[in-house]
C-alpha cells in the first residue's frame, strides 16, 4: 500500500470539496434501506435526471470522503439480474454498462438488509459475477439486533470470498463513518473471485469468456447461458454451435428452466451460509409484529384500509383548500393589479389572463398534489402500500388486473399524472397500459369545480332518506368514474390487451418508521417532476386558450345589443357584457358556434360548446370560461353564475340547462379525457402516440355517448 503524505485535518470543519473520481452503483433489494443510505451518504449533493429512452429517474449524488469524492448512482431495487419490470431492467442495464450516456460503474456498493439477508445474499452472488470491486453495506443492523438476530460479519466475509461487509444503520448513523472511510479504497479492492454459490456455472463461463476474448466477459456468457439476455444467447449459439450450448445447458441446468435452476442452486448455498453466520433465524420478523398481526387479519385490515383512505381524502380535500384559495386569490389579485396598472389592452390581458392565470392554474394543484404525495410516500416507506395491494388484489382480479394497480388508481383521485407515473411498478406491460387507461376515469380534483357548480345550480338541496341529494349526486359521479375505469380495464384486458393472467408476486415488507429526510427528499423530487411534466403542459394550454378567447377583437358597440336578449341587460355590469361579447366572436366562440351542431343532440348551445372546447386541453378552465361567456366575469362566484345558467335560454325561449342536459353534461365530464397533461404523460410512459390517441378517442366517445343517451332519454321522459 502506498503511504501518502497526509496531514490530518478535520475535513468537515474546513469543507474542502473533492471532485468525484469514480462512479459507484448503489444496488440492492427493494426496501433494503437503499435510498435512506443514499441520502445519508450524499446529503443534498444529489441530482435527478432521466436514463435515456426510459422514464426511470436517475438519481446520482456525490459522497465527500476525507481525501476524495465518489459519484454514487442510486438504482431501483431488484431481486435478481433477470429483471422483468422497467425499474428492474434499468438497474441491470446500468450495472452492466449497457445504458448509453452512463458509464459502467467502476465498483458496486451492495445494500443488504440485515433482517432479510436471505434475498440479499442471492442478489449479491449474482452481482459478484460482474467482476467489479464490490463492497457490502449491511443495513438495518439495529433492527436485526432488536429482533434478536446476530450476524457474524467475519464469517460472512469469509463465505463471500473476502468481499468486505460493513454493518450500518442509516437511522442511527452507526457504522457510516467506517463505511465512508473504506469507500475511499472501493475501486482498489481486488475483484471478487469465483462466487461460491455456483462455481460450476462461473467456471464454465470464465473458460468460455477467455476462449472468446475481450468482447465476452464472464457475466455476458452467464447471461447467454441463462437466457436472461436474448441477444447474447443467440450470439453465443452462433459462436460455439447450438449443439455445444445446448449440451452445456443440459449439464448445468438439467431439464429445469435456467432461472429455476439458478434459484435452487444459489439459494441452497445461501441457506448454508445463513446457518453458519446468523444466530436465530425467526420465521417472521418481530418488529411491529403485534401491530402487523392484527392489521393483517383480513377484516381489521379492510377496515383500516378504508380508514386510511378516508384520512387521505379528507386531508387532500380539506387541508389543501386554504392554500388553494390563497393561490387563487393571489393570482386573480395580481391579474387585476396588472390590468389597473397597464390599462385594458392586449399586453395586460396576456399577462393577467394568460400568463398569471396560467401559472396560477398550475400552482393551484400543488397543495393537493403535495399532500397526496406526502401520504403516499409515508405509506410507501412504512410498508403499508404493499399491504394495500395484497388486500385489494381480489377486487382488481375481477377486472383482469392485480393488486399492484390499486395505488395508481387511488392516486388518480387527486391527479392522473402522478398516478400514470406510479404504474411503473407493474411488471407486465399490458397490465400497466390497462391501468394507465383506467386511471384518468377516476374523479380528479380538476373535475370538482364543474361538478360543484352544476350540482349547486341544478340539484335541489334536499334530503333523500338520511343523505343529502347533492352529496348523493357527487358520490354517484365518483362511482361513475370508478365504474368507467374498472370497466375500461376489463374491456381492454379481455380484448386489445389480452394476455396471461397477471401474477401477483410481491414481497411484503414489515412495518417500519419512515425516515424524515428520505420522505422530504422524495416529496421534493416528486413535486419537481409534477411541475415539470404537468406544469409546462397546463401553462402552454392556458396561454393557448387565452389566445383563442382574446382574438380577434370585437367591435363592442356593434355586438353589445345582441349579448343578452332575454334578460334586463341594464342590470349587467358593462364590462362583463363586453367580455361576453368578445367571447362570442372570438376564435373560441366561433369554434363553439361551428361545432354547435355536433353538441346540439346533447342539448348544448354554442356557449356550453365553447366552454367544453376550451376545457379539452385542461378541464379546469371550464368554469372560468363559462363565467366569461355568461357575462358574469371569470372570477364570478358560483352563486351569480348559477343564476345565469338557470336562466339561459335557446333563441326559441326553451331553457338550455334542463335536468337531462345537466346530468348528461356531468356524465360527459366524468368520462371525457379533457387533460393534455394526462395525454402527454401517457405518451411519455408508453413511448408511443398510439395509446394517448386511443385513450382520448375512447374517453371522448363514451363521454359523448353517455351524455347523448341521458339527454335524449331524459328529454323524452320529462
Amino acid at each position: 500500500m502506498i503511504e501518502s503524505t497526509e496531514v490530518k485535518i478535520p475535513v468537515s470543519g474546513i469543507g474542502i470539496r473533492h471532485k468525484a473520481r469514480a462512479s459507484i452503483a448503489l444496488i440492492g433489494n427493494p426496501n433494503a434501506g437503499k435510498s435512506t443510505l443514499f441520502n445519508r451518504l450524499t446529503g443534498l449533493r444529489q441530482t435527478t435526471g432521466n436514463f435515456p429512452g426510459v422514464t426511470v429517474e436517475k438519481h446520482t449524488g456525490t459522497v465527500q470522503l476525507a481525501h476524495s469524492a465518489i459519484n454514487l448512482i442510486d438504482l431501483p431495487g431488484i431481486y435478481s439480474l433477470d429483471g422483468t419490470s422497467t425499474d428492474e431492467r434499468i438497474a441491470v442495464d446500468v450495472t452492466l454498462g449497457r445504458v448509453p450516456g452512463t458509464d459502467r460503474p467502476s465498483g458496486l456498493l451492495v445494500v443488504i438488509d440485515a433482517t432479510h439477508i436471505y434475498q440479499g445474499l442471492y442478489l449479491l452472488e449474482q452481482l459478484l459475477e460482474l467482476q467489479l470491486p464490490t463492497m457490502v453495506a449491511l443495513t438495518m443492523i439495529d433492527v436485526a439486533t432488536a429482533n434478536g438476530t446476530s450476524i457474524d460479519i467475519d464469517a460472512l466475509q469469509d463465505s463471500l470470498g473476502g468481499v468486505p461487509v460493513y454493518a450500518v444503520s442509516s437511522i442511527t448513523g452507526h457504522g457510516l463513518d467506517v463505511l465512508k472511510e473504506r469507500l475511499e479504497q472501493v475501486t482498489t479492492i481486488p475483484c471478487p473471485s469465483i462466487p461460491a454459490s455456483w462455481p460450476e456455472l462461473s467456471e464454465t463461463a470464465q473458460q468460455i469468456s477467455q476462449q472468446l476474448g475481450q468482447d465476452w466477459q464472464r457475466i455476458d456468457v452467464i447471461q447467454a447461458l441463462l437466457q436472461t439476455h436474448p441477444g447474447f444467447a443467440g450470439k453465443l449459439g452462433d459462436l460455439l454451435g447450438q449443439d455445444t450450448v445446448a449440451k452445456l445447458r443440459l449439464k448445468l441446468f438439467g431439464d429445469a428452466p435456467p432461472a429455476a435452476a439458478e434459484a435452487r442452486q444459489r439459494y441452497q448455498w445461501v441457506k448454508k451460509v445463513i446457518a453458519q453466520v446468523q444466530e436465530q433465524a425467526p420465521l417472521y420478523s418481530k418488529i411491529g409484529a403485534r401491530l402487523a398481526q392484527w392489521t393483517n387479519r383480513p377484516w381489521p385490515a379492510t377496515l383500516l384500509f378504508f380508514a386510511v383512505l378516508l384520512l387521505v381524502f379528507q386531508a387532500v380535500f380539506t387541508w389543501a383548500t386554504p392554500m388553494m384559495d390563497a393561490i387563487d386569490g393571489l393570482s386573480s389579485g395580481l391579474g387585476r393589479w396588472i390590468i389597473t396598472q397597464l390599462g385594458d389592452n392586449a399586453l395586460s390581458s396576456f399577462l393577467a389572463d394568460g400568463v398569471i392565470a396560467g401559472v396560477g392554474s398550475v400552482l393551484i394543484f400543488l397543495p393537493q398534489i403535495l399532500i397526496l404525495f406526502l401520504f403516499i410516500i409515508i405509506l410507501e416507506d412504512t410498508g403499508y402500500l404493499a399491504r394495500t395491494s395484497f388486500l385489494m388484489d381480489r377486487v382488481m382480479r375481477t377486472v383482469g388486473l392485480s393488486g399492484q394497480s390499486v395505488i395508481p388508481m387511488l392516486s388518480s383521485f387527486a391527479c392522473a399524472v402522478p398516478s400514470i407515473m406510479a404504474t411503473r411498478v407493474i411488471p407486465d406491460r399490458r397490465d400497466r397500459i390497462a391501468t394507465m387507461l383506467a386511471a384518468p376515469f377516476m374523479t380528479c380534483s380538476a373535475r370538482l369545480p364543474i361538478y360543484a357548480l352544476l350540482i349547486a345550480a341544478f340539484v335541489p338541496d334536499q334530503s333523500v332518506g338520511w343523505m343529502n341529494l347533492q352529496g348523493l349526486v357527487l358520490f354517484s359521479l365518483y362511482l361513475l368514474g370508478i365504474v368507467g375505469g374498472l370497466g375500461t380495464a376489463l374491456l381492454l384486458k379481455s380484448s386489445a390487451l389480452k394476455g396471461p393472467k397477471p401474477h401477483f408476486m410481491l414481497a411484503l415488507p414489515e412495518f417500519r418508521t419512515p425516515n424524515l429526510q428520505t420522505v422530504a427528499i422524495k416529496l421534493f423530487d416528486r413535486a419537481r417532476i409534477f411541475l415539470k411534466r404537468a406544469g409546462t403542459v397546463i401553462f402552454v394550454v392556458a396561454i393557448l386558450v387565452w389566445t383563442l378567447a382574446y382574438f380577434p377583437r370585437a367591435d363592442i358597440s356593434e355586438t353589445l345589443p345582441s349579448v343578452n336578449t332575454s334578460e334586463s341587460s341594464s342590470q349587467l355590469d358593462i364590462n362583463n357584457a363586453r367580455a361576453a361579447a368578445q367571447m362570442e366572436q372570438s376564435w373560441l366562440g366561433r369554434i363553439g358556434r361551428t361545432i354547435e351542431p355536433v353538441f346540439k343532440p346533447l342539448g348544448w348551445d354554442w356557449r356550453v360548446s365553447s366552454a367544453v372546447i376550451a376545457g379539452f386541453p385542461a378541464r379546469e378552465v371550464v368554469v372560468a370560461v363559462m363565467g366569461t361567456i355568461y357575462a358574469v366575469g371569470s372570477d364570478a362566484d358560483d352563486q351569480s353564475l348559477s343564476e345565469k345558467l338557470r336562466s339561459a335560454k335557446w333563441p326559441d325561449g326553451r331553457i338550455i340547462f334542463t335536468l337531462p342536459m345537466v346530468l348528461g353534461l356531468l356524465v360527459f365530464y366524468a368520462w371525457c379525457l379533457q387533460c393534455a397533461a394526462t395525454l402527454a404523460t401517457i405518451r411519455r410512459e408508453t413511448n408511443t402516440w398510439r395509446w394517448p390517441i386511443f385513450a382520448w378517442l375512447y374517453m371522448t366517445g363514451i363521454g359523448y355517448t353517455g351524455a347523448l343517451v341521458i339527454y335524449q332519454v331524459g328529454s323524452l321522459l320529462t
Binding site: P257, A259, A260, Q268, I274, L283, Y284, F390, P509, E510
Partner: protein, 78 residues
C-alpha cells in the same frame, strides 16, 4: 398437499416445485425453493391471495401459483 391447502399459521416444508408456470419461477427467485420451511402468514378475504413467510421475509402470491408447490405440513396453525 400443496401450499394452497395450508391454513393460516401452519408451517410446512416445500417439497417439489413445478416450474412450468413462469410465475412460479419469479417466486423461486424470491427464495421459495425446495427444502425451505414456510409459514402461511395470511389469507386474504375470499381465500386469495396468500401471504407466505420464510427467512424473515413475506411474499404474497395467488393460489394459482401456490398449487405448484408440493409441501409437507410441519405444524398446525394458530
Amino acid at each position: 398437499m400443496t401450499l394452497a391447502d395450508l391454513a393460516r399459521g401452519e408451517t410446512a416444508k416445500l417439497d417439489k416445485i413445478d416450474t412450468q408456470d413462469p410465475g412460479v419461477i419469479r417466486l423461486m427467485i424470491l427464495g421459495m425453493v425446495e427444502d425451505i420451511t414456510v409459514r402461511m402468514e395470511n389469507i386474504a378475504i375470499g381465500g386469495d391471495p396468500l401471504e407466505v413467510g420464510f427467512f424473515g421475509s413475506s411474499v404474497s402470491l395467488r393460489k394459482e401459483q401456490a398449487r405448484h408447490f408440493k409441501v409437507t405440513r410441519i405444524t398446525a396453525g394458530d
